[in-house]
């Protein structure tokens, strides 16, 4: 039996498939999962999540979250998730510019600094993944 992969966000269930391999952006570096992986939980960075099914790669832009593996079941709890083909590059670029602008105005100890920084990283990640 292959891996099952579920991607859910607070707003909806994004994906539920079986696949051969999952690659995800962990906070301590990217990692891959195949069958028989040990039980594992990791925080995810905003970035590219890829799953391979029958030799074909499918890419998703995720905005941070969690991944949990147990019994060949991979569950991704993402804050946001979009298929690469669905990303609107123009909008992502606007969002990136906007977030960078806001970030410049904030000092490091501002309450919102971390949040804006995360927005910058998310937007940058989305642009990198679009159309792949």
């Amino acid at each position: 039996m292959a891996l099952t992969l579920d991607i859910v966000t607070p707003e909806r269930r994004v994906l539920s498939v079986t696949c051969d391999e999952v690659r995800a952006p962990g906070v301590q570096g990217g990692f891959g999962i195949r069958r028989g992986h040990t039980s594992f939980m990791s925080s995810l960075e905003p970035g590219r999540l890829t799953y391979v099914e029958g030799g074909r790669e499918h890419h998703f832009a995720i905005g941070g979250g969690f991944l949990q593996v147990a019994d060949d079941k991979v569950i991704v709890l993402a804050d946001t998730a979009e298929a690469a083909a669905d990303i609107d590059v123009g909008r992502a670029q606007l969002a990136l510019a906007d977030a960078r602008e806001k970030l410049k105005k904030l000092t490091v100890d501002d309450r919102n600094h971390a949040e804006e920084e995360a927005r910058v990283r998310r937007a940058a990640a989305r642009i990198g993944i679009a159309g792949t």
């Binding site: 859910v8 966000t9 269930r13 594992f40 939980m41 990791s42 969690f66 147990a70 569950i75």
Partner: protein, 290 residues
Amino acid sequence: MPSLRDIRNRITSVKSTRQITKAMKMVAAAKLRRAQDAVLKTRPYVQLLDKALGLVAARAAAEEPESVHPLVAQREARVAEVVVITSDRGLAGGFNSNIIRRTQRFLTENGDRFERIELSTIGRKAKDFLKARKLATRKDFPGVHQGLSYEKAEAIGQEFVTRYLAGEVDAVFLCYNEFKSAIAQTPVVVQFLPLQPPAVEAEAAIDFIYEPSREALLAELLPRHVAMQVWRALLESAASEHGARMSAMESATKNAEEMIAALTLQYNRARQAYVTKELMEIVGGAEALK
């Protein structure tokens, strides 16, 4: 006795009211469907998040009971805060006033438990109602209902987490309408800080490898759990609002129809009386000429 024309005018006016209430009912029904869908769509995330959180929290509690995460730790509650969630618009039956009444009951019942209870509001009606009752509010979150999104819920949740960790508030409650069905909504008060970690089943004893660490994961999962609580409350409240409005408009339409029937009857009687009177006059005149 109102004249024929008066009655006719009233019938026209009630008819146009009926048209409006009917339209509002239909709009509410359509929105209700969408709101219900949104509630259902959060279910998988909530279930999986609760499960993951339960797993991590249970193991953490079992292995190091002394180092509980502050969001879960019980502490002496001095300052409480109630977040009152209503709609922005009225004409939804008892939807908003039920919430306000529930809030007031909570305040009288729990007044002794805390040194101070603060209030904050989501939705214009909550703000206006509390102001009218001269209850001071700490903060209003404006414009949450327009373009309701998870991000807004997250921001609100984040604010309370920050305040809670800073010790500005020791317990936070959400007061909102829980969605039972299109015709039934129950106002509830739910504690959301400190968190009550979701219970885990016994089979949860899988030993995970955690990255970066169990504490770090817990610190990431808990705020998301908080945000989800707010998000769910907002969605439930939205669904309840549309449900309440739908049934309110349904009965308003029915009332209008009854009124139209009654007025029509009155109108016909008055007309008949008028016709009879005229006939009598004509007959009386003819008699006189004989």
